[in-house]
């Protein structure tokens, strides 16, 4: 068993200079997506009684994060004149790489940061417009900001243990948001959600213990250097256990069972952000660890493809069997996680690029669909398909807002869903994985059916029941402007994905090139450690 301290610095570590060399201005931007929301969260606790101050704080903090992330993305993608090339590293506390915590932003992290911060901001505005949980509970704003910090931290961390901490930050916030209000249904589903997540977390700690015993480090770049030295059986075991740990969070087959039960009970806006972001953080972690840590022989291509196929089919069948709008969409998330895992499972440039593009597309479109589901519930007072009907006449605006992302997620040209699925299926054909091509296309058809079923029962037809509900609760039939506006913004973003599909796909391809050549990531992170002794 090697000690990281001793192995890096040798016997004279007490006198060695372990401060990282001074860094550029952009490195200082790296921790901001975590620090800004956390700072705002602590201020938000102080102003617990002043809801408007909390609102301004949250919006300002998230606007700052969006701006910061856009600068980071442009910086990372435009690598001219930078030795590290497309990767910005910040060593927390100024400690050199394997000793301290490395914060790393490469193209994939930067894309995820930009998209997630945009969604966090839009959903926050939607929640403020909704004027229910957000107004009633002083805890909403601080907890939401901690969730934002946790999501960002998961994307920027370059340290496996820090990834665990980031996950916990995000999950603890999600526990509170899920059970906000403490209704019986929320308590019931919250219990199973918390227990499952807690088991996944302890499994993660166990994995970390095994990793540290075997390699003596939890820094991802250093792990990537040391894991190839392990025996192939241990490598495969590590690879599988990490897939299981992150698979619970991502909701892949057969670990998805908690998802459709817990998501729909949360307040509407919260469900939207859970659906858009939390599972995708799990997918990101699977992509990152599989491609960075493990050499080709320990990557579970075939297993991931089988899992991807099962995830797609089970998710879409669950969506077909349900009657409740939120539950249909929740099952539907699972189905689409399958597509992302499929892209990764191919382990080709086109596959990983397709998976990256799909993640971005899915975050935006799925959030949009959940926001629209919230609008439907607000307008009609129910989210049961059997009770709804005729909304194309009573609420044409909501109908349009539903139709655009629904067509996109069903994969109809020219929407971004078509581009994403086309890229993935193309990659699978190129890799000659015919079985997964067949499954993907078949599930795509079923998705179309699910989306048109929602359309025909919510927006077409007559429903006396819906009319009765509307009359019973007159206050609920008026949808606040801010809710609609936020939904319009997210749907607009999903259309922007269509307009900028070309450049975005190129970006995803560059990100995939980086991911498939992990040596540059390793060099960028560990570059500073070679300066030890020379003086930083």
């Amino acid at each position: 068993m090697t000690s990281a301290l001793a192995s890096v610095l040798g016997a004279d570590f007490l006198t060695a200079d372990v401060t990282a060399p001074s860094s550029g201005i952009f490195d200082a931007l790296v921790p901001l997506p975590v620090l800004l929301p956390l700072l705002a969260a602590s201020l938000s606790v102080i102003f617990a009684r002043l809801r408007n101050v909390q609102r301004v704080l949250s919006i300002v903090a998230l606007l700052g994060v969006v701006a910061n992330n856009v600068v980071l993305l442009s910086r990372v993608d435009d690598a001219t004149g930078d030795a590290a090339g497309g990767i910005v590293v910040s060593q927390a506390g100024g400690w050199v790489a394997p000793l301290g915590i490395s914060l790393v932003v490469d193209r994939l992290s930067a894309i995820m940061l930009v998209v997630s911060s945009l969604m966090l901001l839009s959903v926050l505005i939607y929640a403020i417009g909704q004027d229910s949980e957000e107004r009633r509970f002083a805890a909403f704003h601080p907890v939401y900001l901690v969730l934002a910090a946790g999501v960002s931290a998961s994307f920027i961390t370059g340290d496996l243990f820090n990834l665990f901490v980031a996950f916990e930050m995000m999950l603890v916030a999600s526990y509170v948001l899920l059970t906000l209000g403490g209704r019986a249904g929320q308590v019931r589903s919250g219990m199973s959600y918390i227990v499952i997540s807690l088991i996944a977390s302890t499994l993660f700690i166990t994995t970390l213990a095994l990793f540290y015993s075997a390699t003596g480090t939890v820094n991802m770049a250093e792990l990537a250097e040391r894991i190839p030295e392990l025996s192939s059986g241990v490598r495969t075991g590590f690879s599988l256990i990490l897939i299981a740990v992150f698979g619970i969070k991502a909701g892949i087959f057969p670990l998805f069972f908690w998802l459709p039960d817990s998501y729909p009970t949360a307040p509407n806006a919260v469900t939207a952000i859970f659906a858009g972001l939390l599972t995708k953080v799990g997918v990101y972690a699977i992509i990152r660890t599989q491609l960075l840590l493990f050499p080709a022989d320990a990557q579970q291509g075939r297993l991931l493809l089988v899992v991807a196929g099962c995830t797609m089919v089970v998710g879409v069948l669950g969506a077909l069997a349900n009657d409740d709008l939120q539950r249909i969409l929740s099952f539907h998330i699972i189905s689409h996680i399958g597509y992302m895992i499929m892209g990764l499972g191919l382990f080709t440039l086109a596959g990983v690029a397709g998976a990256g593009f799909y993640v971005v597309h899915h975050i935006v479109v799925k959030t949009a669909l959940f926001l629209v589901a919230g609008l439907v519930e607000r307008k009609a007072g129910s989210d049961r398909l059997s009770r709804l009907g005729g909304m194309v006449r009573s609420a044409p605006m909501i109908a349009v807002l539903y139709a655009l992302p629904a067509l996109s997620i069903a994969g109809l040209p020219p929407f971004s869903g078509f581009v994403a699925k086309f890229a993935l299926v193309g990659a699978a054909i190129e890799a000659e994985q015919w079985a997964i091509v067949a499954v993907a296309l078949f599930v795509s058809l079923l998705t179309m059916y699910v989306m048109s079923r929602i359309w025909s029962s919510v927006f077409w037809g007559e429903s006396e029941d819906g009319v009765v509900m509307a009359r019973l609760a007159p206050g609920f039939t008026k949808v606040p402007m801010l809710m609609t506006a936020a939904t319009v913004v997210v749907v607009g973003l999903s259309l922007a994905l269509l307009v900028f599909a070309g450049p975005l796909y190129d970006l995803a391809e560059r990100a995939a090139t980086d991911l498939l050549n992990p040596q540059r990531y390793i060099d960028a992170v560990l570059a500073s450690s070679t300066n030890v002794g020379v003086g930083g």
Binding site: S3, D12, E168, V187, P260
Partner: protein, 138 residues
């Protein structure tokens, strides 16, 4: 020492898993606590596990234990503690609402169970009818 710790971890994982499979939230929480302890013991064994102190004024790596796993274990203890307390709060809320802390079946399970119950009733009714017909014949 290491063997003892390995057995301790295994015992904690085993009992924790058994408790997790119970239906009462209080037992599940204790189970999670035990599994958490198991993983922390596992973390500690990765710092060469000879019972040496982690911080000591010496430069010889064989004199002290690797402090990093101890720091990691401390972090994970704090986090698990916090979440467990929250879970207790949820359990208390459930007890206040239903006077019980049994983890209920999810919606899907209850739906399937209801359908099966309906089918069983139908089947038994059909069997009774058949039985009656047969008795009539006799």
């Amino acid at each position: 020492m290491s063997v003892l710790l390995a057995f301790a971890a295994a015992f904690l994982f085993a009992t924790g898993t058994w408790l997790l499979l119970q239906r009462r939230l209080s037992r599940i929480i204790i189970g999670i606590g035990l599994i958490g302890h198991g993983s922390n013991v596992l973390l500690l064994t990765s710092s060469n596990g000879r019972g040496l102190p982690p911080i000591i004024d010496s430069a010889d790596p064989t004199d002290f234990a690797d402090p990093l796993p101890q720091a990691l274990a401390l972090t994970s203890i704090v986090i698990t503690f916090g979440v467990t307390v929250f879970l207790f709060a949820v359990g208390f809320r459930s007890w206040k609402l239903t006077h019980d802390d049994v983890v209920e079946d999810d919606v899907e399970d209850r739906f399937i169970a209801r359908r099966r119950a309906d089918r069983d009733v139908e089947e038994s009714e059909a069997a009774e009818r058949e039985h009656a017909v047969e008795e009539d014949r006799v």
